[in-house]
């Protein structure tokens, strides 16, 4: 068959190679370990039983029946707790983002003052990231006591790890040409950073910070469960007292606030992601 009018005597091209390739030993081992964990989980500790699912559906129906209509009698205190939750997320994110800026500059290969500082700062960021926000909440409840302050600090630590990593990666993506060009003008290290590198990555930083805010808003709801302030403690109390109608009011309030923050963050990301230079 002469497809597309190619001459019948066209020179033969190289063999396309086998369709499938044998996986490398590390890839094979990773697949085996993952399959073994899934098999073990399904047959023991992490199993999902169809019977318990059916049973659970019945109890879910009971919960829904008792939760409707939502009880609006405590709307005032719920709104107040929700406001505290939102403030925890905002302040915690702000502290975390500010703390992550120097961390990122020290951690990025192209702006770090020394390779040892790069490795040490990356390790600090990895630690901040690898400890879950709920664990940070428990730690700060122990250190500063029950209440929103512990929640703010937990969110700040979590955000510093998240933003520190992505900010540093973004700084490393900055064109070496830009740094060379600014260095050639006689700019100091700080001048290169403040005048060229940071303005270039600012839109990306804003976008990442918005993702951090979304995550922090969800975290701030859960942190109340461990006593770190916010709406979480209200929800836990309502559930423990079997006041499901009140719990539904809280869940709906959480939904509205989280959705609102997500929409606002998406709008801000859209604003900085397109058009000209960010005007701040």
């Amino acid at each position: 068959m002469n497809v597309g009018g190619a001459p019948a005597s066209a020179p033969a091209v190289g063999h396309p190679g086998p369709r499938w390739r044998r996986p490398s030993l590390p890839a094979f081992l990773v697949a085996i370990v993952a399959l073994a964990l899934i098999a073990h989980g399904l047959t023991s500790g992490a199993a999902v039983s169809p019977l318990s699912l059916v049973d659970g559906l019945g109890r879910t129906a009971e919960f829904v029946a008792e939760a409707f209509p939502p009880d609006l009698a405590r709307l005032g205190p719920v709104a107040e707790a929700m406001l505290v939750t939102l403030e925890m997320a905002l302040i915690g994110t702000l502290i975390g983002v500010v703390a992550s800026l120097p961390l990122a500059v020290l951690a990025a290969r192209n702006t770090t003052p020394h390779p040892i500082v790069h490795v040490a700062t990356r390790a600090v960021i990895a630690f901040l990231r690898s400890v879950p926000d709920l664990v940070w909440g428990i730690v700060f409840v122990v250190t500063v006591g029950l209440g929103p302050e512990a929640g703010v600090l937990a969110i700040a630590a979590d955000t510093a790890g998240f933003c520190g990593r992505f900010f540093a990666d973004r700084i490393e993506d900055v064109e070496p040409d830009l740094i060379e060009g600014l260095t050639a003008t006689g700019a100091t290290r700080g001048g290169v950073l403040a005048g060229g590198v940071l303005p270039s990555v600012l839109p990306s930083f804003v976008g990442t910070s918005m993702f951090a805010l979304e995550s922090a808003t969800r975290s701030s709801v859960v942190l109340g469960v461990v006593g770190a302030g916010g709406i979480g403690i209200e929800l836990t109390t309502s559930m423990q007292l079997l006041r499901y109608d009140e719990a539904l009011t809280i869940i709906l309030a959480i939904f509205v606030v989280v959705l609102g923050v997500e929409r606002l963050a998406a709008w801000i990301r859209g604003r900085v992601g397109v058009g000209g230079e960010v005007a701040f």
Binding site: G195, P199, S200, G276, E277
Partner: protein, 249 residues
């Protein structure tokens, strides 16, 4: 010594690699326009970068604007760089930032952190940036994002940034290598006008031999990291220049 650039037996190369310059002797007098020509790897870019200490000198004398570059401290090198404009082949600008912002980067060395953001910079610096852009015919695009400009326009912004430094010496490393003939002619014309009007010393690396003969007072040919030709541009014959590129005379 009245030369603004003085080298004797200069050996230089990027760290961890063999020296590219193998004993360069060169004097450039104030106000002179010098074209460096030579094949790829001859040492043109290395020589230009070594003049501001961005490629370390390993042996020999190197004095630029009165500063012995190999012995200069970090602060002295920075001070020298504020007086030497540098236009790169790949522009070395920030694509996301505005034309004005990129131009104002030329003042970073002089005004330090005060000039890090155009909105916060002294009014005099903003005014000077606009004059520099006017000089290269781009003042009307000052607020545009740099990445929306053509290659020729971006190179003109790079020249404006260099002018922003109020330089005594302007170095340009193959500034028209990636431009089409019309944009090349425009950039070279602006460079020539700046050199004449400002009585600026210019050292420019070029592959375009016709540009070199038309633009420069003097042509310096490099081959194997050494100066193998150094004559007034008007006297030099094209076949002799082509020899530097391995073409038959």
């Amino acid at each position: 010594m009245d030369a603004i650039v003085h080298t004797r037996g200069l050996r230089a190369g990027f760290r961890g690699r063999p020296a590219v310059l193998d004993g360069v002797d060169l004097d450039v007098r104030p106000g002179e326009v010098v074209a460096l020509v030579g094949a790829n790897g001859a040492g043109k870019s290395t020589l230009l970068r070594s003049l501001i200490g961005m490629v370390p000198a390993r042996e020999g004398d190197l004095v630029v604007d009165g500063v012995p570059v190999p012995a200069a401290s970090r602060g002295e090198l920075r001070a020298l760089r504020t007086r030497v404009g540098f236009a790169f082949q790949r522009f070395c600008l920030a694509g996301r930032l505005s034309v004005l912002h990129n131009t104002m980067h030329g003042a970073l060395g002089r005004s330090g952190m005060r000039g890090w953001w155009p909105a916060l910079a002294p009014e005099a610096e903003r005014g000077w940036a606009l004059q520099c852009l006017e000089r290269v015919g781009l003042a009307h695009l000052a607020q545009e994002r740099l990445s929306t400009l053509s290659g020729g326009q971006q190179q003109r912004v790079a020249l404006a940034r260099a002018l922003m430094q109020r330089p005594r010496l302007l170095l340009a490393d193959e500034p028209v290598a990636s431009l089409d003939p019309a944009a090349s002619a425009r950039v070279m014309g602006i460079l020539r006008d700046i050199a004449v009007d400002e009585r600026l010393t210019v050292v420019v690396a070029l592959h375009q031999l016709d540009h070199a003969r038309e633009f420069a007072d003097r042509i310096v040919g490099l081959s194997g990291g050494r100066v193998t030709l150094d004559e007034p541009a008007r006297q030099i014959e094209m076949p002799r220049l082509e020899l530097l590129y391995g073409a038959p005379a």
